[in-house]
Symmetry: C2
Subunit: 156 residues, 2 copies
DNA sequence: GCTTGACCTCAACTTTAGTTGAGGTTTTAT
DNA sequence: ATAAAACCTCAACTAAAGTTGAGGTCAAGC
């Protein structure tokens, strides 16, 4: 068993099932990621997928990016912009994570602004087209009608 | 024209096109919202939709909830839990916005935590299964193998 | 040496939040 | 009175991120 484990540990390539287990991602998802160009595989003699262990790191990075809210297509673009087939190094990670952090900060800022508006509007509840910062912030129609008046004085 | 506008302003019901224009939501979306039970309409003699002006406020509330990231199905549930067919009053708004604010705060907290982890991992880049807070925070598999070791020492 | 489990491809289905189009009716404006 | 604009329904399509299943192959253990 020690012998066996030892040789297994040294085996360079992982099967799709092993990758699934180790990464916590379903086999079907790995297939899917492959069709999207997020990861790739070599094939065994019998046409089964074989992965270098570096794929685990790559999947980890994908999952983190997804948590920040970045769509897979964008993740794919970013990953494919890296010098191609070496594994991700610390240097790559630094570049990626810096960008993703910036995105994340933006998203946080937007949500925070929304929350603050919500806070200040809880007691008000006017939802006035013309006055309320929550109401369609980009809506220029608000000026061109009597909408605000009517909304502020709901009938029936 | 003054005469005309005056009578238009007093007209109680809005057509779907008017609601679309005033709310900034497409006609098709209003149809869609209706199928989902988010809004409803009366019909004219000729079967065209007619809305009370209060629908504008309702749509405003829907849009705000969506901005906080709440799925339409949940918005529908919440809205349908209100005493049914009177327009939304300040009191309703207060209740809704309090809940939504809580949701939003949770989402903000999660993203902030992620950002902070990202910040502390930018310089590190280890992505270690066992050590890195970014790595699959819920993944218990990390303990059961040699994954971490291999990931920390990528080959090829 | 054969059974079972893991794997293969490809197509179809799922959910969310809508949009688009076809074919037909109503309302409005001239 | 008629043409144009707005409306109706219903079905099909879109995008993202996968999942499920059918029909068949490969590999490992007893």
């Amino acid at each position: 068993m020690t012998e066996k484990n030892h040789s297994e540990n040294l085996r360079r390539e992982l099967s799709v099932g092993e990758v699934a287990t180790r990464s916590g991602v379903a086999v079907s998802t790995l297939h899917f990621y492959e069709t999207k160009g997020l990861i790739k595989s070599m094939r065994s003699q019998g046409n089964q997928r074989r992965y270098p262990r570096s794929v685990l790191r790559r999947i980890a990075v994908i999952k983190i990016a997804q948590r920040t809210g970045i769509p897979l297509a964008d993740i794919q673009k970013t990953l494919s912009s890296l010098p191609s087939d070496r594994p991700l190094m610390a240097r790559d990670w630094e570049r990626l994570s810096r960008n993703w952090k910036a995105d994340l900060n933006e998203r946080i800022a937007k949500l925070t602004a929304l929350r603050d508006q919500l806070t200040s509007c809880i007691g008000c509840g006017c939802l006035s087209m013309s006055d309320c910062p929550l109401r369609n912030p980009y809506d220029t129609l608000s000026e061109k009608g009597n909408g605000a008046y009517l909304i502020e004085h709901p009938e029936e």
